[in-house]
Each structure stands twice: as C-alpha cells, then as structure tokens.
C-alpha cells in the first residue's frame, strides 16, 4: 500500500517540478518571454501599463509582482487549469489543448495498439517456428524496422502514399466539406487521415515482436509448460493461459513506456502530416514565439507521460501477482 502512496508522491513531484521549471524559464531567463512580451506589446498600447496586465492574462505572470507572489499566482492558476492565453491562436491555451488532445490520443492509441498487436503476433509466430526461414526473415525485418527512426518512415510513407500514389491525404486531420458528427463519411474521413500517421509508428512493432519472440521462447522452455502438457490441459488453455500470458506480461511496462515516448513522437509526426494535435500546436507555438502555448503544451505532454507511467506502475501489481504488494519498480 505504502509504495503506491510513494509512487503517487513522486508523480506529483515531477509535475510540480515541470511547472516550476516552466515558470522560471518564462520569468527568470535573461531576455525572458515576459519582458520581451512587455517590450513588444507595451509601445503599441495607449497605456503602457496595460502591457503588464496583458502579460498576466496571457502568461499568468505579472512582471511587477515580487517573484514569490508571481510564482504562487502562477501555480494557483495552473492548478485551476488556466494556462494563459495563446498569443498566436487567439484562444485560451486550455481550450486549444482540450481540442487538440483527443486527436493526438486517437492517433497515438491506434499506433500503439496496432504496433503492439502486430508485434506480439509476429513475435509469437517467430517463437513458434524458431529457427525456420520464416523466423530468420522476420527477425531481419524486425531488426531493420526497429532501427529506422519513425520520422524517416513517416516521410517515406508520406511521399509514397500521399504525394505519389494519392491514396491518402497529405495533411489535415478531418475530411473537408463533410459535416462533423457521427456519420459514416466523417468517420471514414477521419480514419483515412489517420492511416499514415498511425503506420509511421509501426516501428514500435519491431521492438515488440523481438521482445515477444524472446519471451515466448523462454516460456516454451519452462517446466510449468511441460507439467501442464503432462496434466493434459487443452492446447487452447496452454496457449493462452500459459504461454501468451507469461510472454506478454513482461511487455506491459514496455507498452506504458512506449505511450510516454509516443507523446514525444507526436510532436514530430504531427508536424510532418500537418495533423492538428498537441504536437502540431507545440511546433506552431515555437515558430510564433507563443510562449504560453508552448509551455502549456510542454506541461500537458509531461503530465501525460507521468500519468502513463503511474498507471503502468500501479496496475502492474494487478496484472502480475508476483509484483503484488511488494516495493516493486515496474520500470
């Protein structure tokens, strides 16, 4: 029980540290964004004092306050979900994020799901036919695909299937001219737009299949498998409860870590496909020197990663009885 509280404490600490970092980067850096903002906006206004108020609206930081007061204010508004106003998008950061996150989650979860599902199946087959031509060929495939950075694959896919073959749209996240809502053309359109980004993340399947192969081969040599066969258990039980479960289990944490790193991957991927998710807005923010949006996206991504890892840790004990209530680190 106690280690759960501890994990939780660590997660909260990480989030707090990231927010604090964001604050100090915005406020304390030489030529910091707040001062720059005031310097830029101030002269255009009738009353230059208003620039400070605007700064507070946009960034939650009033440069005139003493640093500790500014910090407390900043944290307070962050906790309320107020991440300031975007300077380039003309909307609150929170609103932009709320709108973008579902799209990112949509693409990422499919990417991870398909990647792992394919990886696990291939890995299982490789283990089943260990040493055969099939195994050798697929091991080769997995090794190669693992070593390709996902953005290279993304570019190759984009050039081939979108520009050359015109099978998929080159950018965007939803069909144009179709009424948004729960109708078939719209849903198909969304899927159509998501295919390439999802398959760019296919590289994850390489790692997954190699891990699965190794795990399965290990499990196939276990004594409990031999005993299970002697006990005359049906093949299906053996395959599912004995082999698959024990082989997939150790990959669970890997999956959660993959989720964490995929948010990072989303930044590059969404830029390549001009897919308006969180990562896309983050790059836009960097381009436009839109600090509130940038920091907002950064904070949200961090929190997402921390939550994914926290879930991995807290649920691992449920899935693997051995991890149970011990002081266990899932990763």
């Amino acid at each position: 029980m106690n280690w759960k509280i501890r994990r939780f404490g660590q997660a909260i600490f990480t989030v707090w540290a990231v927010m604090t970092l964001a604050f100090f980067l915005t406020r304390m850096m030489p030529g910091n964004p707040v001062d720059a903002f005031v310097a830029r906006v101030g002269p255009e206004l009738d009353n230059p004092q208003e620039a400070y108020e605007l700064a507070e609206i946009y960034m939650n930081i009033n440069p005139q306050d003493p640093i500790h007061v500014a910090y407390v204010d900043y944290m307070a508004s962050m906790l309320q979900g107020d991440m300031g106003m975007s300077m380039s998008q003309n909307d609150s950061v929170a609103a932009i994020m709320a709108e973008a996150i579902p799209w990112t989650l949509f693409v990422m979860s499919w990417a991870i799901f398909i990647g792992f599902a394919v990886g696990i199946s291939i890995g299982a087959l490789m283990a089943y036919w260990e040493g055969s031509k099939f195994d050798v060929a697929l091991t080769g495939y997995a090794t190669i695909i693992t070593s390709i950075p996902f953005y290279v694959l993304a570019l190759v896919l984009l050039i081939t299937f979108a520009y050359r073959l015109n099978w998929f749209p080159t950018s965007g996240r939803r069909p144009e001219g179709v009424e948004a809502g729960f109708n078939i053309p719209f849903i198909l359109g969304i899927i159509h737009h998501a295919v390439l980004p999802v398959f760019s993340m296919f590289v994850a399947s390489g790692v997954a299949s190699l891990t699965m192969r190794g795990n399965s081969i290990r499990v196939l040599g276990e004594d409990y498998l031999r005993v299970a066969r002697l006990r005359g258990l049906p093949d299906r039980t053996i395959a599912v409860q004995y082999i698959a479960r024990n082989a997939i289990l150790p990959m669970y944490t890997g999956l959660m870590i993959a989720i964490g790193s995929m948010f990072g991957g989303a930044v590059v991927l969404e830029e390549i496909f001009t897919y308006r998710g969180m990562g896309y807005y983050m790059i836009q923010a960097v381009r436009a020197r839109d600090y509130p949006l940038m920091m907002g996206a950064f904070t949200v991504i961090t929190i997402a990663v921390v939550i994914a890892l926290l879930i991995a840790d807290l649920t691992y004990g449920k899935i693997d009885p051995r991890a149970g209530n011990e002081d266990h680190d899932a990763f």
């Binding site: 509280i5 004594d223 031999r226 002697l230 258990l233 039980t237 409860q241 693997d320 051995r322």
Partner: protein, 734 residues
C-alpha cells in the same frame, strides 16, 4: 515405515503395473546419436515403491519420462512400454494416440519432477491448477477439490491457504508438496517421481519422504522414486534398481542391494556415499567418470572403471544374471564381485588427522568473530519514502573463533544464515554489527565500501564457490586463470616459475598430464576438474583461511569423497584453515571427523550448537541438531523408523523470527519459558570444552524444567509460514 517385507517370490504377472521391453531413448546430436536409455527391460510391481538410483547422466530422467511416453522432443522412444490397468487389457503406452495419451497421463500414471520451483504457472493461483487439471479430464470439480484439500492436509499443509496462494508465495518445500498433491488429484495408480526432493533441504527432503509412505498406503499407489541419493530411498523403497550408463546394473529387493550388492558398481557406489555411520576409511570415490551417451563403451559399460574387468567384459554385454530371488545383476563376474570386492579395496592410508583442531582451540585465533550481526534490506531509502522497513537479520549475534589449521563446517537449512556468516568471516560481506578480527586486527579497519583495506588480509582469506563452472572465467584458459593469483600475490616469480608451479599443482590434485590441461578452457573440463581448478586457484595465493561454499554438493556422489579427500589433503599440506558450508550432515561429518574439526549448527541466524564431529553426530544435545541427525538417512533398510522429531515441517519466516528460542515453534521439547527467554550458549563440559549448545535443556537446573510444555498446542500463530492443521509430527515428549 519399512515396508519392504513383501514377499518377492510370490509375484505373479497380475502384479505388474508397468513393463518396459527393450525400451530405448535416443537423441540425434551433431556428434552422433546419443542413447540416453539403452534397451532397458524391467517391470514395476503394483503397490511397491521402486527406488531407482543413478548419478547424473545415467539416464534416470529418461527412464522416468519413458514410462509416460513423455520424453521431451526431439528424443525418440523405441521399444515397448506396457501399462497394466487394474481391470481391463494391457495398454501399450507408446502406441496411444495423442488424445488417449492425454487421458492416460495423470489419470493412470502421473509424474512429479525436479523443477517444483517452476512447475506452476506463476500468474495463476494454485487453485486454478487443480481446477484446470480436473476439468481437462472431465472430473467433478467439487469432489476433486475436496480430494485436493484432503491431500494437502495429509501433506501437512493448510489447504485453504495453499489453494488461494500464488506459486511465488510458497516456499520450495511447500511447492513440492503441493505438486505431489496435484499429481495425485486424479487418483492415478502409479506415481513417477524424478528427483522430487533434489532442490530441497535435507530436513524437508526427509520429511517429504516420510510422508510418502503414508500417502502410498492411503491411496493405493505404486511409486517409482528416482534419485541420485541412495540413502534417501534406502528405507523407503521395497526394491532398488541401480542405473549406470543408461541401463540397469542391478535390480533387487532393497535389503539385498544394500547388504549384499552383486554388481561392482553398486558396491563402489555404496562405498562412495558419505553417511553418518560407516567408518571413514571405508568411504572412497569411484575412479574415472561416467561415459558419454554418444560413446558408450563396448561390452559392459562399466569396464573402464571396474577392478574386475577382463576380456569378456570388454566384448560381451552382460545380460541379467540371477543373483537370488528377484535379484538381477548385469555382470559376468557377480559372484566374484560379492566375494572379492568388499575387501578388494586396498587399505586406506589414513591421512594423519590425529592432531585434533579442537585441541588447538586454546591458542590465539586466526579469525575471530565476535557478536557478528548482518542485516539485509534497507530500512528506508530516503526522500518521499513512506515504505516501512523490511529487514532480514541473516546473522544475529554470532561469536566464533577459527584457529590455525582448523576446520569448521557450518550446517543448517537454507536461509539459516550459514553462507552469510561464512562470507562475513572471510571479509566478503560487511557486517552490520560486531567485529571480525584477523590475527587480532579488525579486518574492516580503514576499509571503504565493501573491499578490505588491507591487502594482506584479502590474500589470507579466500573462497571456493559452490558452482565451479560459474566461478571460472569461461573465456580464459586454465593457465591464465591460475596465473592471475600468482601474478598478483607472488610478483617475484617469472613466467617459467609460474608455469612450473601451476603444472606442479595440477599434477598434485590429480589432473594429469598437466601439460594437456593448461591450455584448455573451463568448459572443456568435467565438473570435478573445474572444482579442482577453482580450489588450486585459491590455494595458489597461500591463504590462511578458505571458505568452501557447498563445494562438493554439485558433484556426483561417486566424486564427492574424492574431492573432500583432496581438500583435506591440501588443508594439511598448505597449513590452511577451512570453513566449509554444507547442508548435508554426512558431508560435514566426513570432513570434520577426518580433520578433527568442528561442526557448527545454525538455525535462523543463530548458532545453536557447535562441537567436534563425533559429539555432534553421536551425542547431539540441541533438539535441532537431533532433527538434522534424524533427517540424514543411513544406508540401511531397517533403520529404526522414527517419527519426525519436529512439530512443523516448514521453517518460520526469517523476517519475523519467533520470540525466545527461535526453535520453539518446531521443537518437540519446547516449554513455555522457551517462547519468552532466549537461551545462551552453554559449555557442555566435554573433555576439550568444544561442544556448546544454546538450549535450556543443557542446564541441570533451570526454570525450564518447571515450565509447562507447549508441544500440544498447534503451531504458534505468529510463525507466519506454516500453520499445521495437525500436530501429529510430535515425537515422544518427556
């Protein structure tokens, strides 16, 4: 417990339950076909316990698997395996279809094998294993579970707790017993057990074996018990079969095999098996090694090692000769063997061990441990840590002096702290309390971290590991391995001197010709040879004290005595002291008695008794030592079958040791005072004042004698690991 009296001569064919006819198992390998069971023909009788004895690589596991036609791929079983059910026609097991085989196994014949630790699916609770098995065979689940519970409590386990546990929550001994229950849940007629207790402590092995007899009676079982450990089955088995080089050497009623064995190998094996009662001079190793399955010698496969071998033996495979009722032997000269072989062994040159180390106990100690304590597990790892501390005190306040040219053997169950204590003594483990002095100097003085500051002390204290293969660097040749210590500690030697010295040592330990071995890699050596190299490596630095951690337990029975003799000889020649660790009292006795050393018995982090080998073996004072003594089987059929002298089979949880005397939860003599007060070491006043015991019973007048006995109670609730459902293992209490 001795049920060997079944009259062998009255057997009829109806009594046969399994018959093997010319059964072979072969594996195709790069080097050729490997015959791991070579045309074995034999019968197993209904309701008997057949003990099958074989060293590693004798084909004993294949024999077990063949009975269920369960030889692992790509092995091929040929010949016939015929099962005779109680009613109905004989079944040819090798001809069964896949589905028939699936039903046959576990319903008619089931099997328990070595890897009990990993015989359960780690992600499923124990109960699921039972349910799955029952439903796979279309048995009634409710009735099956009732039976399972009954079996579990017959094995002194708490059925509810076992069924609701996950495998990792159980100790090795519990898992092994649960596995036995699982194997019997479908009520099979024949149970094949392949080294079922090999990975367990002696005490647990013995407890399980003594339960088997009752289980067998109660469930009308036939048991085939396969082991490398002859004494373990000596009093359990009705008949014994000895396997050598993938075929039977001899098969007969237990008392015949133990008292008048006819095959030269059986005779040699009996002589090589360390035990507690035989005179030391009669124990000797078997020269040579077991043959390679790819290359089994022509004729009698034992001829390269047999003292009676002649031309006939080298060419003609000895068929079974009749050596008495129901006693078959595969040797041409079995009569001569009976007549000559007992005395055929030359007189031993007793290696002069008279100067008892115990007597030297008066001088200054070489290494002196005082009040040493070792605790594992950190209390708290700092910041944001709300976790409570979980610590295990592996060694709890032990004082022990080791003298020059001394030998101390530490024995005890696994988890008793013997390895930790010994490692602390040679400076490989940092104590959390107390001091260790080497010739009066604190060895941890000025040390940083876990390495000793004083190089001289580091050299003086050495270790030989349990697993010789793992302790030798597999990428280095023997020469390099042995040169390292010489370069480090004898930098004055040049290359030629070093080589000479290494060759000399190799020759000395019987690795010859040494020139051939010096350029080999460890994997090109046999287990015994690796162990010797590891031993030389530590000897070359001229240490004062060597820790040998279970140094012989990995070796085959036939090689153990040889290895121990060698160690004793080296100890004498090099004037070093030895600290042995063993879980086996027979090995401990051999070493301690031959060197005049002491045996120290440990229980849950405490030293409970120490004394000369003779006293510990023949006059143990502490009830726990008596239990260990009980657990060490003898090479006799008609041992006085005593009940287990312990009240519970399982060892208490070391993270939460019992109060007072730690043994009080299992001790048959425990009284109320034992649960509250901790006994101190008492000198038992033998002639050399070397025997000490930590038990109240050693005092003539102590509160203990007036205290109420607590042995009738159920096992103490705070023990945590085992809640016996029955305290029937209680022995006589005075």
């Amino acid at each position: 417990m001795t049920a060997f009296q079944s009259d062998a001569t009255t057997r009829t064919n109806d009594d046969v339950i399994v018959e093997l006819r010319d059964t072979s198992v072969e594996f195709g390998m790069d080097r050729g076909t490997s015959k791991v069971l070579n045309e074995v023909t034999t019968e197993v009788y209904r309701d008997e316990i057949l003990g099958v004895i074989g060293e590693s690589g004798s084909g004993k596991s294949m024999f077990a698997s063949a009975m269920l036609d369960a030889v692992p791929e790509p092995g091929v079983t040929t010949g016939e395996v015929i099962y005779h059910p109680e009613e109905g026609d004989p079944i040819s097991v090798t001809d069964l279809s896949k589905e028939e085989l699936r039903q046959f196994r576990w319903e008619e014949v089931s099997m328990v094998f070595q890897g009990a630790m990993s015989s359960f699916n780690p992600v499923l609770p124990i109960k699921t294993h039972f349910v799955e098995t029952l439903s796979a065979h279309d048995y009634d689940i409710r009735r099956g579970l009732t039976r399972a519970k009954e079996l579990l409590s017959d094995l002194y386990l708490d059925p509810e707790r076992m069924l609701n546990s996950y495998p990792h929550e159980l100790s090795g001994g519990m898992k092994q017993r649960v596995l036995i229950a699982l194997s019997l849940v479908l009520d099979p007629d024949l149970l094949v057990m392949d080294e079922p207790t090999a990975a367990l402590d002696l005490l647990m092995q013995r407890s399980i074996v003594s339960l088997l007899e009752d289980i067998k009676e109660k469930h009308d079982l036939t048991i085939v018990f396969i082991t490398h450990d002859l004494p373990l089955v000596a009093d359990l088995a009705d008949r014994l079969a000895v396997l050598y080089a993938f075929e039977f050497a001899e098969l007969g009623p237990s008392e015949r095999i133990l008292e008048e064995p006819a095959h030269p190998y059986t005779r040699a094996l009996l002589n090589a098996t360390p035990n507690l009662s035989a005179p030391l001079e009669e124990m000797r190793p078997i020269a040579g090694e077991s043959p390679d399955p790819v290359n089994i010698p022509e004729g009698c496969s034992y001829h390269p090692r047999c003292p009676l071998a002649d031309e006939e033996c080298e060419t003609i495979d000895p068929g079974p000769y009749d050596a008495g009722p129901d006693h078959d032997v595969h040797c041409h000269h079995w009569e001569q063997s009976i007549e000559d072989l007992d005395i055929a062994f030359e007189e031993t040159s007793d290696s002069g061990t008279t100067a008892s180390a115990v007597e030297k106990a008066s001088g200054d100690p070489l290494v002196s441990l005082s009040d040493v304590e070792v605790t594992f597990g950190s209390a708290n790892d700092g910041w944001l840590d709300f976790g409570e501390s979980e610590t295990v005190t592996a060694v709890d306040g032990i004082s022990l002096d080791i003298y020059d040219n001394d030998v101390v053997v530490l024995v005890g169950e696994s988890g008793c702290g013997k390895t930790t204590l010994a490692k602390t003594a040679v400076g490989l483990q940092t104590p959390t309390g107390g001091t260790i002095e080497y010739r009066g100097r604190d060895i941890w003085e000025g040390a940083s971290g876990s390495t000793l500051a004083d190089k001289e002390i580091r050299r003086a204290l050495q270790i030989v590991h349990q697993d010789p293969g793992a302790s030798l660097n597999s990428h280095h040749r023997v020469r390099t391995i042995l040169e390292q210590p010489l370069k480090r500690w004898h930098s004055d030697l040049d290359g030629n001197d070093r080589r000479e010295r290494i060759l000399g040592m190799l020759e000395y330990v019987g690795i010859s010709p040494p020139q051939d071995y010096i350029d080999r890699y460890p994997h090109q050596l046999s287990g015994g040879e690796q162990q010797r190299i590891a031993l030389i490596r530590s000897m070359l630095v001229n240490p004062d004290l060597i820790l040998a951690d279970e140094a012989v337990s990995a070796l085959d029975v036939s090689l153990r005595v040889g290895m121990m003799d060698l160690m004793i000889e080296l100890q004498d020649t090099f004037d070093t002291s030895f600290l042995f660790i063993s879980h086996d009292l027979s090995n401990a006795r051999y070493i301690a008695e031959k060197t005049g050393g002491r045996i120290g018995v440990m229980y849950l982090g405490e030293l409970v008794e120490i004394g000369s080998a003779e006293r510990i073996i023949h006059d143990p004072q502490h009830p726990y030592t008596k239990a260990l003594r009980w657990a060490t089987p003898e090479l006799e059929v008609d041992q006085v079958a005593e009940e287990s002298p312990m009240r519970s089979i399982d060892i208490p949880d070391p993270t939460n040791p019992p109060s007072g005397c730690r043994y009080h939860t299992r001790c048959p003599e425990a009284r109320e005072v034992c649960a509250t007060q901790t006994p101190e070491f008492v000198d038992l006043g033998d002639d050399v004042h070397a025997q000490k015991s930590a038990c109240f019973r050693a005092y003539d007048d102590h509160e203990y004698w007036q205290s109420e006995s607590i042995t009738d109670e159920h096992a103490d609730a705070n023990v945590g690991t085992d809640t016996d459902t029955d305290s029937g293992v209680t022995s006589e209490s005075d």
